[in-house]
Homo-oligomer: 150 residues x 2
């Protein structure tokens, strides 16, 4: 087994046995070395954003003192959900390796496919409101940023 995936599985187990959240672990790797590990701490933290990948990314940005993790790879025991995939991209991580896919975990008993269905039909619960007023906010910000460049 790949040694980084082995470390991700070990990290996932840590969370299970301490009842911190689901069995999901991840590690961030740079230049062949693990820079940060994370596991699902949703229950422990009482915070639904504390997935394993997010925890590992947060720790890696702190350790490397940068929000740009380009040059890094992420190993995770399960296919990243859209939240985690988004975080992976905002952090500029180059490559992701995952163990099980969403269908695998669904078959085992995790009920995540409902989650994916809601995302596919997001127009059912996501609506536009006060577009003009928000456009003004963004234009004002860009004016400030552009003035800084002079």
């Amino acid at each position: 087994m790949n040694k980084f995936m082995k470390a991700a599985i070990k990290e996932a187990e840590k969370g299970i046995f301490n009842h911190e959240g689901g069995p999901f672990g991840a590690v961030v790797v740079k230049d062949g070395k693990i820079v940060a590990k994370g596991h699902n701490e949703v229950l422990k933290a009482g915070d639904p954003t504390c997935h394993g990948e997010i925890m590992a990314i947060r720790k890696a940005t702190k350790k490397l003192k940068t929000i740009n993790l380009s040059g890094c790879e992420l190993y995770t025991t399960g296919e990243p959900c859209p939240m985690c995939l988004g975080a992976i991209l905002w952090a500029h991580i180059d490559k992701v390796y995952y163990g099980c896919n969403v269908k695998d975990t669904e078959e085992i008993g995790f009920k995540d496919l409902d989650f994916y269905k809601r995302i596919e039909n997001k127009e059912e619960f996501v609506n536009e409101l006060n577009r003009e007023e928000c456009l003004n906010l963004y234009k004002k910000y860009m004016d400030i940023e552009n003035k800084k460049s002079y």
Copy 2:
């Protein structure tokens, strides 16, 4: 203007003027009252996951002492990115209202469409690895959970 969107804009401005991150603000509302506010703190926190919506959700779960925000609405100045939309769904938020859409902010100068293109082509950088070993992890977890039910 909707009073909750007005509060989200005010929250976004707080972040801009303190140079904490981009001009993005959000509020979580329950029973007609604001329970939490958040704005982009990516630069301040040195953490790429600190978008306005995520900050507001984290604060709301702490305040309401639950990871389940059903019955809540979220008002945000910009269309939620996939990371934030994922967080919104994991938190079971019922409804989302956003000001500008992604094309609006792209036209103003935010370069987020590249981000969306990478997500659409995720097979270019996301790969499966050690599926069987990770399946064993999840099965082991389900065995523990199932034993608890007896």
